[in-house]
């Protein structure tokens, strides 16, 4: 009897900490609220969970369940993953931690130390992991792809994605797992790299395909780069893409051209910078592209979340991809063809007065960054940025954090030098202008706001929607808050003590719902008090 008890206990433990994450689980991630398996929580990036234990009647009682201190300095932009009761995240100082998602107790720590000789673009900034089988995938800040055993944090293999000898590339995004591939792209378009999206064999780390975000001579699109400027064209990806399993298509946003605020050295539209590209996930072959900001001179990357929604567009169900773009417009495209459907400004936009019937911006003549400085809206860091939006199928609203305000844009042609920044920028707020923000609930079918919740400062944190009629959002002054999803009424808030630079997640274990938000160098997890 004791023996049986022992084995059943062992089985129970294995059930908690042992199950593998399959591709099938990833496809249906949004239907399993006990887990959070990808950067966006699901392939479509709706960031909605059918969880309502915490809801609009009781969220006021939400309180800290546990807090985990990484004790690491830096920006905590990670998005934790939750699988089988374990939470995994990258820390601000390049480690990977596994903690018990119920208690916040550390289970293991993988200490990655970037070699002293390595040069890379973007500090130790990192946004998280991907998971498949019993492995975690980590794109390190010095642009290596590492496979880590999720059971004990041991390194299984380590592949160089881009050279860290020159010092231009960097890794910021969480990889995306599709089938048996790990797909990712590097950061640092502003160092004059040529960006790419690559797929690696999840088992071995072998490179399988590469899509160049800046076409070479002879390839379509290269003609959009005058003066041989394609060589240092930028176009990095910074953020994870989304995926439609039905058509096996990846949707990935591409960053700005380099140098960022000077267009004269790169005449042309500069494809595929500031584009959304649709790629075949098996081959990396491009199906279509759409460029939001041709010949960008404002640093308006298009790397924001490409969210996949199936909605009745003008009376007919269509497969859509929507994006609140850094350039201040909310776009709706047909995701099967890339056809432009609509764009609506959601902040003050002076760089363009609108878009034409093909979605191409109607530029304000002569409004360009200058040596003396030019006031342009939205601000250089964008009307929105990497902070995740969310969508509720119950309210049919798209929830996102908006950055309102303008900058003075300066420019001066830089000289390219390998491994150094290749940007012509500086941009700063106008004197005595406080840049504000808001949480906006937008009807994606009309592009109009249903409600707006004003924020004091321009935020860097995203949103999460649940079936409890709640939207969780973070702000720049450190508040995590819960708003009524249908009306935007504030129901709960807590000052986490540090400005928030990632987005909240939620999961349910043993019938208890948790809400998690990294802040400062800590991971904070909230739940309702026991009855």
């Amino acid at each position: 009897m004791k023996r049986i008890l022992f084995f059943s206990t062992l089985l129970f433990i294995c059930k908690i900490y042992g199950a593998d994450v399959t591709f099938g689980k990833l496809i249906h991630a949004e239907q399993d609220p006990s887990e959070w398996l990808t950067y966006w929580g699901d392939y479509r990036a709706t960031r909605f969970r059918n969880l309502k234990q915490i809801n609009d009647t009781n969220v006021g009682k939400l309180r800290l369940e546990w807090m985990f201190q990484t004790d690491a300095p830096g920006m905590f932009e990670t998005m934790p993953l939750v699988a089988d009761g374990v939470m995994y995240f990258t820390t601000p100082d390049t480690s990977v931690d596994a903690v018990d998602a119920r208690s916040g107790r550390l289970l293991w720590r993988y200490r990655y130390r970037i070699p002293k000789t390595a040069k890379y673009c973007c500090g130790t900034l990192n946004r998280g992991l991907a998971i498949l089988g019993n492995r975690l995938y980590y794109l390190t800040p010095d642009t290596r792809l590492q496979a880590i055993d999720k059971r004990d944090g041991t390194l299984l293999w380590d592949t160089e994605v881009a050279s860290s000898a020159g010092g231009a590339y960097g890794g910021t995004e969480a990889p995306l797992v599709v089938k048996d591939k790990v797909i990712l792209g590097p950061a640092a378009g502003d160092d004059g790299i040529r960006g790419f999206i690559e797929a690696f064999d999840a088992k071995t780390g072998k490179r399988l395909w590469r899509f160049r975000t800046i076409p070479e001579p002879g390839e379509p699109g290269n003609e959009t780069w005058g003066n041989n400027s394609w060589k240092h064209g930028g176009g990095s990806t910074w953020l994870t893409g989304t995926y439609d399993p039905e058509s096996n298509t990846l949707y990935w946003g591409i960053g700005n051209p380099a140098p960022d605020l000077v267009g004269s050295v790169r005449p042309g539209d500069n494809l595929y910078t500031d584009c959304l590209v649709a790629l075949d996930a098996d081959t990396g072959k491009m199906k279509w592209y759409f460029q939001f900001t041709p010949h960008d001179t404002y640093d308006y990357d298009a790397t924001e979340t490409p969210m996949l929604l199936d909605l009745p567009w003008k009376g007919r169900m269509r497969k859509l991809v929507v994006q609140a773009n850094r350039n201040g417009f909310f776009y709706v495209l047909d995701r099967e063809t890339g056809q432009f459907l609509s764009a609506q400004a959601f902040v003050k936009t002076t760089w363009a007065t609108g878009v034409d019937k093909n979605g191409r911006p109607i530029r304000t003549p002569g409004l360009e960054p200058t040596q003396k400085g030019t006031v342009i809206c939205p601000q250089c860091s964008g009307a929105t940025n990497w902070m995740a939006p969310s969508y509720s199928p119950l309210t049919h609203l798209f929830y996102f954090n908006v950055r309102e305000g303008c900058d003075v844009f300066f420019s001066k042609p830089p000289v390219y030098k390998e491994g150094a920044s290749y940007w012509a920028t500086s941009a700063r707020a106008e004197a005595n202008e406080h840049q504000t923000g808001r949480v906006t609930a937008l009807d994606p079918l009309t592009g109009k706001a249903r409600w707006k919740f004003p924020l004091y400062s321009s935020p860097w944190a995203g949103t999460l929607a649940t079936s409890g009629n709640l939207v969780f959002a973070g702000d720049e002054d450190g508040y995590l808050m819960a708003l009524r999803a249908d009306t935007g009424t504030l129901l709960w808030r807590v000052n986490t003590g540090s400005h928030l630079v990632t987005s909240p997640i939620t999961y349910e274990l043993d019938g208890k719902q948790y809400v998690t938000m990294p802040s400062g160098s800590a991971v904070l997890t909230f739940a309702l008090p026991a009855e």
Binding site: L125, W238, S421, S426, Y456, H499
Partner: protein
């Protein structure tokens, strides 16, 4: 998207951040001392170093006119004055430092006002300036700390600050009046603010905090909290002479900070 990464800089001090990044942005350009100065330094020190909010750099420099002195100030900043550290590369420093030195060889009015600082101190005392300002450990924390104001501000800026205080109000000394739920008015300096709360420093040096949902109004003062002062010309001259002499200990952390908003 590099711009987002700029916010990695641990300091969220907005002004020095913007300035130091501006310097960084220029790092690969063919360095031109004058252009570097105008883009990165003139915002505080004025065009050609004539002085603005920051001191004039024309004439004898307070922290030394030699190339290593100038480099030291640029690279390390000056605590208590608002002068931040700058992150120029060597290439740019080699262009910028001689240019700054060349400015100091101009004759400027900025750093050495005529007047009697001892008589100026008496004006300071009789004007009850210490009711709002602090020098060393004496005075009030309500207004800007003047321990190093002579090193931080130009003569002309100090003069304007006394005669027309509203001409330039530093962000961390903006006045605000809050009426609470009971109709009670509080006027003070806005120390911090966020979406939900606002914190004031009151003239008695105490703090008061409000939940914005429970207040009746919050009105930012358009004018400086400091009244405009009128002086006889020679009294003003003496007072300015006194204030310009306040340079404090060079390693002091007291004085003017450029933290526009605590977090």
């Amino acid at each position: 998207m590099w711009f987002q990464e700029r916010f990695l800089v641990p300091s969220f001090t907005l002004l020095p951040l913007a300035l130091s990044l501006a310097g960084y942005a220029n790092a690969q350009d063919a360095p031109n001392g004058r252009a570097l100065f105008e883009e990165n330094c003139a915002g505080c020190h004025g065009t050609g170093g004539a002085g603005d909010r920051g001191p004039s750099l024309q004439g004898q420099l307070r922290h030394g006119n030699q190339l290593p002195d100038i480099k030291n100030v640029i690279v390390n900043g000056l605590p208590g004055t608002g002068m931040p550290k700058f992150d120029f590369d060597d290439h740019d420093l080699q262009a910028l430092i001689p240019y700054v030195q060349s400015l100091s060889q101009k004759s400027g009015s900025g750093t050495h006002p005529h007047g009697d600082p001892i008589a100026g101190r008496k004006i300071y005392d009789s004007g009850k300036c210490s009711g709002c300002h602090k020098i060393g450990s004496e005075g009030s924390s309500f207004g800007p700390n003047l321990t190093r104001v002579g090193a931080a501000r130009s003569y002309d800026y100090l003069k304007t600050s006394i005669l027309s205080p509203s001409a330039d109000v530093p962000e961390n000394f903006e006045g605000v009046t809050v009426v609470d739920g009971n109709g009670k008015r509080y006027s003070g300096i806005r120390v911090n603010e966020d979406t939900f709360t606002v914190q004031l420093r009151l003239p008695d040096q105490s703090f008061v905090s409000f939940d914005k949902q429970s207040i009746k109004s919050e009105v930012m003062e358009k004018q400086s909290v400091m009244p405009s002062y009128k002086f006889e010309a020679h009294d003003l001259q003496n007072l300015l002479s006194y204030l310009s002499s306040l340079v404090g200990p060079a390693n002091s952390t007291a004085g003017i900070t450029e933290e526009p908003r605590l977090r």
